[in-house]
Structures are given as structure tokens and as C-alpha cells.
Amino acid sequence: MQAQEVVLRLTGITKRFGPVLANDGIDLALHRGEVVALLGENGAGKTTLMNILFGQYRADAGDTQAFGAALPPGQPRAALMAGIGMVHQHFTQCGALTVLENIMLGRESLWQTRLGRAKARARLAQLMADFGLTVDPDARVGDLSVGERQRVEILKALYGEARVLILDEPTAVLTPQEAEALFVTLRRLVAQGLSVLFISHKLGEVMALADRCVVLRHGRVAGAVRVAETNPAALAAMMVGGDLPGQAVPPGRPGVVLLSLRNVGGTGVDLDLRAGTITGLAGVSGNGQAALADLISGLARPLAGQMTLGGQAVPADWSPRRAVQAGVGRIPEDRHRQGVVGDFTLAENAVLERYGEAGFARGPFLRRGAIRDFAAGLIGKYDVRGGGPETAARGLSGGNMQKVILGRVLEAGPKIILANQPVRGLDVGAIAYVQSQLIAARDQGAAVLLISEDLNEVLDLSDVVHVISKGRLSPGFARGEKTVAELGLWMAGEGFDHAA
């Protein structure tokens, strides 16, 4: 690859959030027809950098240029108008609209009335055919799975005639096979003269896809190399600096079955959660994880089949409250939406599931002193930073918010823990903390069900791994029984056919 025209150039970008220097003098250049990977751990400053490029934040210093022209800071449309398309890690879509409407949204002036709509539909169909990204254009986006919504996001950028495509951790929600298909798509785009900036913390992807790699660490550029001239070990060293890689998790000691599902939902979902075991559930989002999580957390009741807790069938009035009373600790998938009440104080959030217990209430009245003391203890024990019992939860970072939820769950002494995407969006330190707490709970005899889209996370932590695909659940695989590639096939639904 010879040096070509620079299509995107960031110079000396610096951004500070209070005491945290998120970006510190970052330089980056992207050439025509080139794939550049922006590599770094969670919290290294990748997402902040992209938000500056797209005008979500204003940089404290530095400037951005697209196709030789400076982009005005703080204007989200400027980058889009300049032909830079973004696929966000957290999707920016309108759930009530259809796929087609979402893709047309914001480009209305290009498409007039019904004629325009028909043209848009035709063009979208062409794009889907060209790039092998299939989504029903008339489906409501709110009904789609996370994986499908990402496809919509990519199509939206392609549809906007982007000449530079920026993808923020695009494979986080894809199976290995789907990720490979995405890579083929991206290579096709690059061959047509587009440029791709690709944000990732996965070395394998970077090596497979990128021409060049820029490594961020603690907000600074730790190195910039041609991928052909480096190797994964060197990149990893650059990425984590002097940090040691994570320790392997010692295996659990499986005990009795605490929770058991038999053919729930009528799709042959059989699952046993054993004491002292972390059971991992791998799979691309939208394949039935939500239904399974709702069932165990009490939001849904078993419609078919059997669900037993400690050998007893769950009561007919199974509900979140019943689940809590039965010793099921629940870490919800979306902590902002389901985990905490943002405008409640930490104290109020700490007892959200248990405010009616004798320790926290007397008759109709709350024991506010006891609640505050409990929260203060929880904040200390689980190392929640950023506020005291009277602080509103919304002001906390994601990691600290998750610690509050974790503390609330663990302090209840649960026999079963449902951990649904427990580390999504957290920084390295918080991830390690949450995972170590789950392992500690397992070692004390809890049965943990870990649901995650990150296959590596599932493999690292789990004693038993199930794969979920299209509502079907694979048999449990012992640690190390299957390779990543084999599990990927199951995630794509292939193993089921052979097993059946």
C-alpha cells in the first residue's frame, strides 16, 4: 500500500474530563483506500476521540481535517456532510421507526415523497445485496436484536455515501463467522476507494483486517505500526504497556443443581445451574438470551416446560419479587434502564429490591437510618467511587453504578446469580472487579449464569458453556472442550443441525 491522499487527519487532539485526561495530544491520519485500526483497551480514549471527531464533544486542543478541509468543532453534522460515516458502539436509532425510515432519517431533503421512498427502498436493497448485510427494511428497529441493529447502523452509513467509514468495536455483537463476513464487506469497500477506521480491542481482528494500526494507551498514542511489520504479541505489549495479562480463573467445584429448566418455551431449552459453578451463555444478541433472562429474573413466567428452583417448581405467581425472595440475584442487561433509578440516591437504589424487608421498613414506614447505613456499608465494601449514600445514582460512572448493583445483589446472599452482560461498557479496572466478585460468589457456592456477547469473556470465566442460537440451547460444554471456532459454528446455528 503506497501513501495516498490523506482523507482524515487529527492533530494534537486533547480532551480532559475533570481529573481524567481522556485524550492527550493524539495525532492520526487515514489515507484513501486504507484500513487503519485504532487499538486500545476499554477506557484508553478511543470512543472519546471519535466523539470529538463527530462533534459530540469539543476538544480542549487540536483540530480535525477531512479531505483537506478543517472540520468545525462541536458540530455533529459537519463530519457527516464531509462524507464520514460512523457506526457507533451504542446505536443511535429511533426504535419506533422501521429500518428503512431510520436509514432515510436525517437525509430527508434528498428524498421527496413516495417516489423518493421507493427509490430509497430500491437503493437499500441494492446495498444489502452488494454487501451481504440482510435486514427486513420494514421491521421496526425496536423489535430487532442488537446484532441486527448494528447491521442497520452500517447500512445507514453506507447509504449516506460515506467515503470514510468509522466503526466502533463493530464485532462486539457478531459471531466469528459474521465478523469474517463483515471483514469481507469492509475489504470490498476499501477496494472501491473508501477508507476505514476501525476501533477495536481485539488483536486478532486488527491483524486480519488492518493495513496500519494506531495503539492508544491511557489517552496517548502508544505506537503506530504497519500491521505487516508487526505481530500480535508486540501489539498487545503496546496496548497494555507494563500491565500483566489476566490470570487464568481456577475451576469451580460443582455442587447440586440449584436451578433447572426443562424444555421451557417449547424449543428444547434444557439448562442446569449448579452450585459453585459459573455457567456461561454465549451467543449473538437477540437469539433468545432476553427471554431466558426474563424468565430467570421473574419478568416472565414459563409458558411451557418446567422451571425448578432447588428441586421445587417455581410458584405460579413467579415475579421479580418472588425471584428475589427465592434467592435469585439479578444483574440486568441494561443498568441504566433496569438496574438503577437514576434520580434516586445510592441509598434508595441499594434497597430497591429489599425496601420492604424488616431491616429496612417498620409497618408502612421506611427505616431511613438503617437504609443509609446499609448503603454506606455497601459503598465501602464494593469500592463505589463518586458519591455517598445521598448522591444521585445518575452521576456515577458505569463501573461504579454496576458496583452498586453488584453490591445490592451480593449483599442479599443469593444462591443463584443471573449476570446479564455484567461488564458491558465498563473500563478495565471495573471489569476485573466485577468478574472477581462473580468468581468469589461462585467459590462461596452460588450458581452463576453469565450471559455475554463477548465469547472471550464467557470462555475465560465459565466452568460450563452453553451456546444459544435462534432460541435453541446447545448442550453444556466443559471448559476447554470446544475451540472458539467450534463455538462460533454453534453460535451461527450449525452445531444444532448436527446434534439434532
Binding site: P72, G298, G339
Partner: protein, 347 residues
């Protein structure tokens, strides 16, 4: 121009902006007075004197504030749970109907006051229960249903006053048979025109404040209002909480009707409420849904109405100025609240 959220608004921002809103209200009122051809300062002065300038004026303001405290509390309680009860007017009238039904000789002496109050409150609560069950079971928007019930109830009152409840001694006026003496709320101090309804309204505000801040129910109501998904996930019985909220809110609004009939008018008529149910929403919003704040804002709103009446007689400026001033006060306050949590940035 766009809005950027502020994570931790400063105290200056949280206190200053509402103060600014009040100032803007004042200036707008003066501008309106000038527009009507009067001296702005004199008009403001006359409103103040008319509201609190004499014993008579003050008592009139307190009397006018009484139903507003009840309807303001009704809105404040419901809105906390994001239950949009726009039907306080209907609940008020139903409370008044029940008061007349039970208070015209149907019950023995001593029981009549507490029983009319309780049954009126229960009726008001049940009236709101219908829309709430339609909301929880079928997803019907309660704004529409509660609003429409207002019109139904007004027509019902109209029918009752022309028919079954018509006062035979009423000289043809559409008003009900008067309450028996035992059903009337006595005055707090003999000789002063202020009835016990006002004291009960204050008591209700204190009770609601305690419920909201100290009890499990208040905690549940706030959790449901602030994040219904987290509340449901945590095991709070959301529908049950909404039903309790409805009973509380509808009951409070009905007590406004009870207190107006039993304390002030002594009978039911079609002009019992000059929109107390709707004005209660303004009262609650101005108070930021705080139960004790409702008392303050109800006094303010009542003062503006009573004062404007007096001012109008003296200065010849139409009383409509009161409605405009209150509407502006609400708009400014909502704007101030928005700007407390968001700032406008260019670009």
C-alpha cells in the same frame, strides 16, 4: 443551537432560575397592566392589597386556596408516579355529588361529616381507577380518558341539578338541596369566614409529604415515576402502586369538592368550581410536585385570583390578567426547570 445536559447543576442555578422565573412573571404582569392603560406598579400594589391587604381579603385568599391545595396535591401525587390525572375536575364534582347525596339528611348527625368525607374521597378515587385500569391492562392513555371524564361528570351534574337533586325551594336556579347543618364544616373561629376545610387541606399536605418521603408507598410511587423499568425489574408491583396512587389522587381531588360544598357553599351548583381541577395542575407544577410547596403555590395562585378581582374593580383592568399571569408563571417555571438541567450551547 442545542441543549447540553448539566450533570451537577450548581445551587445558584437551581435557586436562581426559579427566582428569575418569578421576576419574569412580575415584569410580564406589569407589561400587561401597562398595555391595559393602567399604572403597572399601582396594579401590582392593588393585586397585593386585594389578596392580603385586609382581614377580609386574607380570609378570602385562604378560602380560595383550600380547594386548590386539595387539587394541587391530587396532581402532585399522581404526577410523581407519572400518572397524568387531568380529571381532578371530575373527581371534585363527584366528591361534591356524594356530599350532597349523604349530607341532606340521609345520615344521623354525628356521623355525617366524617362519612361524607370518606365516601366522597373513595368515590373520587374509584373514578380515577377506571382510567388507570384501562392504562395498565390495555395501554389506553390516561390523559385522554381522565380529560374526557371531566365533561361527562359536568353533564351529569347538570342533569342532577335539573332533575333528581334539584332544590325545590331554589326558585328555579340550577342548584341542589342545601346540606343539613350537621353536614356543614364549622368555621375555625366563630365570626371569621374560614372553615375547617383549610386546616384539613394543610393536614393533607403534611400527610402526603410524610407518605412521599417516609413510607414504602411513597418510595414505590417515586420509583415507578422515575424509572418504571427499574421499578418493575426490582420487584416493585407497578400496577398495584399505580392503583394506590389513583385512589390517593382521586380521593384528594374529591375532597376539594367535599370541602367546597360542606365548608363554603352548602349546596351543589354548576359554578362550584371555576376550574379548580385544572388550576390544581398549575399549582402542582409551580410547587415542583412538592406537597408542602403545593400549599405555598396554592396560596400564591389564590392570591393572584382574589387580588386580581379586587384590582379589577379598582383599576378597571380586566380580571383575565390573572389567568394570563398564572399561565406565564407556569411557562417561565417550566422553562427555568429545563434550563436547570440543560444549557443552551451554540453550534
Amino acid at each position: 443551537m442545542r441543549l447540553e445536559p448539566i450533570a451537577h447543576p450548581s445551587l445558584a442555578r437551581r435557586a436562581g432560575l426559579p427566582a428569575l422565573a418569578l421576576l419574569a412573571t412580575l415584569l410580564s404582569a406589569m407589561a400587561l397592566a401597562a398595555l391595559a392603560g393602567a399604572n403597572p406598579l399601582a396594579v401590582l400594589g392593588q393585586i397585593a392589597v386585594g389578596a392580603v391587604g385586609s382581614k377580609f381579603a386574607l380570609l378570602e385568599t385562604l378560602n380560595r386556596a383550600t380547594p386548590l391545595i386539595f387539587t394541587g396535591l391530587a396532581a402532585a401525587v399522581a404526577f410523581r408516579a407519572r400518572l397524568w390525572n387531568i380529571g381532578a375536575e371530575a373527581q371534585l364534582y363527584l366528591g361534591a355529588i356524594v356530599t350532597v347525596l349523604l349530607g341532606t339528611g340521609a345520615l344521623p348527625g354525628l356521623l355525617v361529616l366524617p362519612v361524607t368525607a370518606l365516601v366522597a374521597a373513595l368515590a373520587g378515587g374509584l373514578l380515577l381507577l377506571g382510567p388507570v385500569l384501562m392504562k395498565t391492562k390495555a395501554g389506553v392513555d390516561e390523559v385522554v380518558t381522565t380529560l374526557l371524564i371531566n365533561f361527562i361528570l359536568l353533564l351529569l351534574v347538570s342533569y342532577l341539578l335539573e332533575g333528581p337533586m334539584k332544590d325545590p325551594m331554589g326558585m328555579g336556579w340550577p342548584k341542589s338541596t342545601p346540606l343539613v347543618t350537621e353536614a356543614r364544616l364549622p368555621r375555625i373561629v366563630e365570626g371569621l369566614r374560614l372553615h375547617w376545610g383549610f386546616a384539613l387541606a394543610l393536614l393533607a399536605a403534611a400527610a402526603i409529604w410524610i407518605i412521599q418521603t417516609r413510607t414504602k408507598l411513597g418510595y414505590e410511587i417515586r420509583a415507578v415515576g422515575l424509572n418504571i423499568h427499574a421499578a418493575r425489574f426490582a420487584g416493585i408491583p407497578v400496577n398495584c402502586v399505580l392503583v394506590k396512587t389513583a385512589l390517593l389522587s382521586g380521593g384528594l381531588a374529591a375532597l376539594a369538592g367535599w370541602s367546597e360544598v360542606a365548608g363554603l357553599k352548602g349546596h351543589l351548583s354548576l359554578d362550584l368550581s371555576p376550574g379548580f381541577g385544572y388550576t390544581g395542575i398549575i399549582v402542582a407544577m409551580l410547587a415542583l410536585l412538592h406537597p408542602l410547596g403545593v400549599v405555598v403555590s396554592a396560596l400564591f395562585v389564590a392570591g393572584v385570583f382574589v387580588g386580581s378581582d379586587a384590582m379589577s374593580r379598582a383599576a378597571g383592568v380586566p380580571t383575565y390578567i390573572a389567568d394570563i399571569v398564572l399561565a406565564l408563571a407556569l411557562l417561565y417555571m417550566v422553562l427555568a426547570l429545563g434550563l436547570t438541567r440543560y444549557r443552551l450551547v451554540r453550534g
